[in-house]
Symmetry: C2
Subunit: 499 residues, 2 copies
């Protein structure tokens, strides 16, 4: 096969893969948002069938030949072509480890597990969910062992979400967070709790929906390219840069919950919307890694969204929509309420300070689950023990405990560290951004486009053209350094709580 043949065959293959992925993505999004409940089994069959075709195409002998041909000329081809081949080769190497039948059975298992998890969470019934989780854990362990039997299985899984990541990075990372943040958490607990009574009122949902529209407008998200749906557990899907979906949830008694879901998912959306045109339709059209993706969502949610400047922008919007509920609330009161720090049960609702502890607990649990040191049936007990130990709180039921997240149900074991890593990446980007633009003046202007433009240039437009490490190096001028995150949190909460 000549290089030119290989490159044109790669393009044709990408077109095929894109179509199947788009269809599967749409079926999944539909299932998560609007599909009737009993549709799950047949949708699972269809998604497994289509995934099987992707498996077949990616693992085909010809695909190997295409990729080998291009990579044999790695110094002659463009960076884009080299990365297209590299990224697809990684996918191929992974899929080749799993026979087609097993792969499709796993897809079907995950579809069923999602449904079972939904019900089990509502009923706080871990026992109903355990057999599914058990099979998902076993699959992931088996997969990791096949991929590299010499390394700890959990390291192999981590590496799948963030190239090169292992316990050697994460153990000291979480140790640093634990060591530096625990004293701050304890000090905050001694301080008076800010007045958040204004939040404990009904905020009608049809008005919260108008607020969502306004927040997306401030973020500069073009609604013709990005829709908003509703799910129990908010997420973002990007089929291509003109078809991005965020979801949120509405609770009448929790106006900030919707707000920060929208800002978080909006950050993911801006990443997908900002991928370079020239990467569309290729395997590079998407985020570089889950941590980099979370760096964007958590940057918008927290560094921007929970800033004093953003609260100043939000206040008149909230007052216009909810005049009675917001009576007597000023910027400072809103800022303090949006940053109320205290140990809590739910990760996605946690403040920035305690958030890392939620992730750390999941990291330790997953390491033990995959390492074989924690039986599936023992997860709830261990979960509750760690929440008591690290956050000092009692978990009243599994709904608000180990059943709260959907991730394991879609096979994502090794994903959670991305949230903490992403938060830390974002904290390292802030001082770099401040060298180029006056970040807080931009936020106060009520139009975040200059911030998105900076992130677009440094991160978004590259898609998967650069690896996570390359992106951090290029955006921040230095390798990853977790101290930025610790310093950011200590500075912010020191000022907030007058520590």
């Amino acid at each position: 096969m000549t290089l030119n043949d290989a490159l044109s065959k790669l393009t044709a293959l990408e077109t095929t893969l894109r179509a199947y992925s788009h269809a599967i993505g749409c079926l999944n999004y539909d299932g998560e948002t609007v599909a009737p409940r009993n549709s799950a089994p047949m949708r699972g069959e269809t998604m497994a069938f289509l995934s099987g075709i992707i498996h077949e195409k990616v693992t085909a002998g010809e695909t190997g030949e295409i990729l080998d041909t291009i990579l044999a000329h790695r110094d002659e081809v463009s960076l884009k072509d080299r990365r297209r081949a590299e990224v697809l080769k990684e996918q191929r190497d992974d899929l080749t480890l799993v026979p087609a039948d097993e792969f499709m059975a796993y897809q079907q298992l995950m579809a069923e597990a999602m449904q079972v998890w939904h019900d089990a969470k509502l009923a706080s019934d871990f026992a109903a969910y355990a057999p599914y989780l058990d099979r998902i854990i076993a699959y992931n362990r088996r997969f990791a062992e096949r991929k590299d039997a010499k390394r700890p299985a959990y390291d192999v899984l981590l590496d799948g979400y963030e190239k090169g990541l292992s316990h050697e990075t994460l153990d000291p990372f979480f140790e640093l967070l634990r060591g530096e943040l625990t004293p701050v958490i304890l000090a905050v607990a001694e301080k008076p709790r800010p007045d958040v009574a204004f939040l404990n009122q009904p905020y009608p949902i049809h008005l919260q929906k108008k607020f969502t529209d306004r927040v997306m407008q401030i973020m500069g998200i073009n609604r013709d390219d990005c829709s908003v749906g509703e799910t129990e557990h908010p997420f973002t899907d990007g089929f291509n840069k003109h078809d991005v979906r965020i979801t949120t949830h509405y609770h009448e008694d929790s106006v900030l919950s919707n707000l920060y879901s929208v800002v978080h998912e909006g950050g993911h959306a801006l990443y997908e919307l900002g991928v370079g045109d020239e990467l569309q339709g290729t395997v590079l059209a998407g985020g570089s890694s889950m941590s980099i993706h979370e760096s964007q969502s958590r940057f918008y949610e927290n560094i921007i969204g929970r800033s004093r400047a953003f609260c100043e922008v939000l206040l008149p919007e909230l007052k216009a929509l909810f005049p009675a509920q917001m009576a007597g609330v000023d910027e400072e009161k809103l800022y303090h309420a949006a940053n109320l720090a205290e140990p809590s049960l739910i990760r996605t609702e946690a403040d920035e300070l305690t958030y890392a502890m939620h992730v750390m607990i999941r990291y330790e649990l997953e390491k033990a689950m995959i390492g074989g040191d924690l039986k599936t049936d023992d997860i709830p007990g261990e979960w509750n023990r760690m929440y008591k130990k690290y956050l000092g709180i009692d978990v009243p039921d599994d709904r608000r405990g180990c059943l709260q997240d959907s991730h394991w149900s879609f096979g994502a074991i090794g994903y959670f560290p991305s949230y903490a890593l992403g938060s830390a990446y974002g904290a390292q980007m802030l001082p770099q951004m401040q060298k180029d633009i006056d970040v807080w003046s931009v936020v106060r202007s009520g139009d975040l486009k200059p911030i998105t433009a900076w992130l677009g240039e440094k991160i978004h437009h590259y898609g998967q053209l650069l690896t996570p490490n390359e992106l951090i190096l290029s955006a921040c001028g230095a390798p990853f350094d977790a101290h930025y995150y610790v310093d950011y949190l200590k500075g912010k909460y020191g000022e907030l709580y007058k520590l």
Copy 2:
């Protein structure tokens, strides 16, 4: 190929086709309901790609061999197996006439046309839409000529929606309707207009949504099998009997518009929900023809939904949700308002009496369009001329004229007669149903399940196992007879307007 080989290969093929159709259906539903606007081009590409695979599988030589083998043993195999082969062979014969490239280009054209039509309708700009419609007409004419050059092209298209249907049936059918109903329409116009002032008030949309839930409950539609979405032009999609989607539209100033959309689409949904379990996954799992499908939707919408008995059931529901708006309204007032008969612009909002004229106009226009007697650019003028001639009204703009329906944009030319035929089929079923159950007592009970059970047994559960003619004969004990429809309308409106 042995018969057993052929039958097991047919099952495998159906599994494949079902998966692709499911994916395409989901992409289409998503596009019509929640997808962001700019997603259309890429979705069009994906749908065309997947349609191309269906084309390839159905037209493959082996598929021909499978079907020929089964049909060579047509007297030995079960009715189900024979019909599976027959129905797929019809699809194959049609698809074989269109080369794969042309087929995919047509899919892409339709996806674009839908988008252009949406915008053109809003802007009332026929000129923007005309080039797309022109290509769709040309495609349909060319397709019909290839299929059977000896017959009028429009007859060939009609036959595609209803086996055996041609102008030889429809010309006298519409002539009968014109002749019998025109005097009634004129007589009604001389009578006092019922008082519908109570409808001309705002009915808040969040309460109309609750009303939708209640109406679907009365109809006995299991929401775990059937969801409800929102679109400009309501429709129903059935992916399988546990995954049916209806859509509706909400206008604050038009509470009945949503009501009758829901009842109409709910009728389609009950058909899909009632197809026999043993047909799931086969090509027979769906309605027998579009006319039979419309017979169910129009039966529920009009014969049941606009009956005095159903108005009695609705009244307390409406009063509970809209006490101020419904103050002073009794059953008779609601019944008369729900059956207000007068010439109007919009087919889907038309009363039962004038409805057939809307369809007749489209039938005559399509016959001329496909026959080559009407140029695309002349459609608006001819549309307006016929609305003046047959309904006596002036069409103020194309939005409320020839751009009102979406059908041509998805290639459905020859479909409209199904609505009138379906209405007539339903009118013929009513006296048969009344022999077995006390229809109006059932309706008054507020639980329509016995009616759905009757239709389920006579129509729904057969799927495509029987042809439309066989279904009418089996359900009504006689061939189709349009006089039932005419008599039903004359009886109902004679009593309503004291003619």
